[in-house]
C-alpha cells in the first residue's frame, strides 16, 4: 500500500481577472514510512503543495488532482467532513511560519493539549487531565524545551521564533501521525537543536513508521536520510527519484545545478578559493513564465526543442521533465558520503 499517491496535481490562484497556475501537473508518491525530500528555490511552490495536501488553502485557490490517494483511500471521492477526519487523524504539518500558526490569544498549553488525540488516555476526568499534562511536558522535553512551566503559561508573542517552531514540532508529533509534512522545520533553530530535531524525526520515522515529507532548500540536511528526493522549479516537479540515483546521475540540468551550487566542504581543496557554481538569471515569477521548458532561459543545455514544454519521462524509476536528459555522472561525487 502506498502512503501517498498523487497524480496531476494542479494548484491555481484565482484572481479577479485571471487564474495563475502556481503548481502544475505534479506527480508525487510515497511508500509507507518513507522519507521524501522536497527541494526547490524560494517561491517554487513547495509550501503550496504541502498546504494543498492538508487542505489549508482558502477558497481563492483551486486545487485539482486526477488522483489523490492516501493510504489506499481516495480523498477526492470523500465527503468534505470525512476527508477532514482522515487528514486530521493521520497527517500533521510543521508550518513554515510557526508564529502565524499559533493562536495569539490562547496560551501554549491549551494549544499543545488540543493537539493530543481525544481518544487517548482513558480514565476519570482528573486522571485523564493529569496524564495529558504529563504527555505535554514530555513532548516539550522531546523538542528541547526545558522550562515547560514557563512556556505553558506564555502566549505566542512572548516567545521567540525558535521556541515557537519547537512548539510547532511538538504539536505535530503529538498524535504520532502516519505522515508528517515538515516545511523547513529547522530554519529558526540553532545548529545543535536543529540536529536534535532531525534525529527526533528520524527516530519517529523508524520506530513509529511515520512517513516524512521534508521540505527544504538545504541539500545537506536531506541527502543523508531521505529515501527519495523531489526537485521543484517554478511550480513544476522537474525531477524525482531515489536519493542515490538523483545524487549519482541527475537527469535534469536544474538538479545538477542545485548540487553544483552547494559549496563542497568534504573535498580536500576546500581551502582553495573557487567560484561557486550558479545558474545565470533568476527564477521567473508566476506571471511571467517562459514558454516551453520553464528552465529554458537559464538552461546551459537549452536547444531548439526546448520551446515546447517537455513531458514527464521515466527512466529506471527516475522521473524528469527534460528534452535532453544528462547522461554523464556529476563531477562532484561527495554526496554519496554526506
Amino acid at each position: 500500500m502506498r502512503l501517498l499517491d498523487i497524480r496531476n496535481l494542479n494548484i491555481e490562484l484565482i484572481t479577479n481577472d485571471s487564474t495563475i497556475k502556481a503548481v502544475e501537473s505534479a506527480n508525487f508518491s510515497m511508500k509507507m514510512a518513507e522519507v521524501s525530500g522536497l527541494i526547490g528555490e524560494s517561491g517554487s511552490g513547495k509550501s503550496l503543495v504541502a498546504k494543498a495536501l492538508v487542505g489549508m488553502l482558502n477558497n481563492r485557490w483551486e486545487v485539482t488532482a486526477d488522483r489523490l490517494h492516501f493510504m489506499g483511500q481516495d480523498l477526492n471521492r470523500m465527503s468534505e467532513s470525512k476527508r477532514r477526519k482522515v487528514i486530521s487523524d493521520n497527517i500533521s504539518m510543521i508550518y513554515q511560519e510557526p508564529r502565524r500558526c499559533l493562536d495569539p490569544t490562547s496560551n501554549i498549553f491549551s494549544q499543545l493539549e488540543e493537539s493530543l488525540p481525544d481518544y487517548e488516555f482513558s480514565g476519570w476526568f482528573g486522571a485523564k487531565k493529569e496524564l495529558r499534562l504529563k504527555k505535554c511536558i514530555r513532548l516539550l522535553h522531546k523538542v528541547g524545551i526545558k522550562e515547560h512551566e514557563k512556556v505553558f503559561n506564555s502566549y505566542p508573542h512572548m516567545l521567540s521564533e525558535g521556541i515557537c517552531q519547537k512548539i510547532m514540532i511538538a504539536m505535530a508529533i503529538a498524535k504520532e501521525p502516519k505522515l508528517l509534512i515538515a516545511d523547513e522545520p529547522t530554519t529558526s533553530l540553532e545548529a545543535d537543536t536543529s540536529l536534535k530535531v532531525i534525529k527526533l524525526l528520524k527516530s519517529l520515522n523508524q520506530l513509529k513508521e511515520m512517513g516524512v515529507i521534508f521540505i527544504t532548500h538545504n541539500l545537506f540536511s536531506i541527502t543523508s536520510w531521505a529515501d527519495s528526493i523531489n526537485v521543484m522549479y517554478c511550480g513544476q516537479l522537474i525531477e524525482s527519484g531515489l536519493t542515490k540515483n538523483i545524487i549519482n546521475s541527475p537527469k535534469h540540468p536544474y538538479t545538477k545545478a542545485l548540487f553544483d551550487s552547494e559549496p563542497d566542504f568534504n573535498s580536500r581543496d576546500a581551502n582553495n578559493k573557487q567560484k561557486l557554481y550558479a545558474l545565470k538569471g533568476t527564477i521567473p515569477t508566476l506571471q511571467h513564465l517562459p514558454i516551453g521548458c520553464r528552465l529554458g532561459p537559464r538552461c546551459p543545455n537549452a536547444q531548439r526543442a526546448c520551446v515546447k514544454m517537455p513531458e514527464q519521462q521515466k527512466v529506471k524509476g527516475q522521473f524528469f521533465r527534460c528534452h535532453y536528459p544528462l547522461q554523464q555522472k556529476p563531477l562532484n561525487n561527495n554526496w554519496k558520503k554526506a
Partner: protein
Amino acid sequence: MLNYFYRKLSLLFFITFGVTVFVFSLNYLFPTDVLSNMSGITNINEIDYDVIAQKYNLNDSVFTQYFGFVGRLLDGDWGVSFINGTSIFNQVFRVLPATIELAIYALLYSFIIAIPLGILASSDKHPWLDKSILALSIIGFSMPIFWLALLLILIFSIGLGWFPTSGRLSLIYNIPSSSGFLFLDILRSNIDYKSEALADAFKHLVLPTFVLAAYPTTVLIRTTRQSMKDVMNTSYVKAAKIKGLTSGQLLRRHGLRNGLLPVIQMLGIHFGTVITLAIVTEVIFAWPGIGSWLVDAIHQRDYPAIQGGLLVISGMVFVATILFDLLYMIFDPLARRHGHGKI
C-alpha cells in the same frame, strides 16, 4: 499592566480637565448673569450678591474660580435649578439610572442578536444567508431612529396595543426608588404585586430597547461578520482545524476570542453615538432618563441644569470607554503585554 493604567489614568485626567474647563466656561458663555449661572439662583438682590459672589470667588481670578468650581463639583454642590430650585446633583443622579438601564439593555440585546447573526453571515457555506443578513443590517443602518420609533409605536402600541407608548412603568404601581434601577427596585421592594409590576416594566422596556438597539446591532453584525471572516481565514485557525478540532471547538477555542476583539473595540467607539441615540429615544418614549431631562432643561433655558447634564453624559461616555478598554485587555494578551523579556 501598571503602565497601561497609568496611560489610561492620564488620559482620563486630561479629558476630565477639558470637559470641566468647557463646562466652566459655559458660565460665561450663557446669556444670563454669570453668578446666576454658577449658583442657579435667579434675581439675586444687592445684599445677597456680595455674599454669594464671595462664595463663588467671583472677584478673584478666573483660575481661582475654576478651582472653586471643580471643588464644588467634587463636593456634590452643583448649584440649583432655575426652574424649581432643587439641587441639580440630586436630580441628575435620580434620572441617570434610567438611562444606564436603557443603554445596557439595548447593548446587551444588540450583542445577543448581532453576534450569532454576524457569525452565521461570515460562514462561506450559506451565501444567501450572508446576503439577507447584510441586506437586513443595511436597512436597519439607514433607517432614521425617530421614524422607526414612531412606526413601531403606530403598529405595536396604537394598532395592536401590545406595548405602552411611553414611560417606564404604569402609574398604578408605586415602587419606592432606592437604587434607581427599576427591576432591582421592584425585586427589592416588598409589594405583593411584584410579578405584575415586573411584567409591566418589561413591557415598557421592549420598544425603547428595540429602537435604541437598531443602530448598534447593525454595526455589530457587520463588524462581527468581517472579523470572523478574517479570523477563520488565518493560518492559526486553519492549523487548529487540521489538528482535528470540530467546527464548534474551533469557534469556541480560537474563533470567538479573536473575532470578538474588534467587536468590543467597535462597541467602545460607538458608545458615544449610542448615548446620543438614547437621548432621542428617551424623548420619543418619554423615558424619564438623563436625555429627556437634559432636553427639557434646554427647552427651559435652565443653564445650571444643562451644565450638570453635559458633565454627567460625557463622564458616562468615557467611563464606558475605559470599561470597554478593560474588557478588550482581558481578551487580548497582546494588549496586556508589559514588555517583559522573551524566553
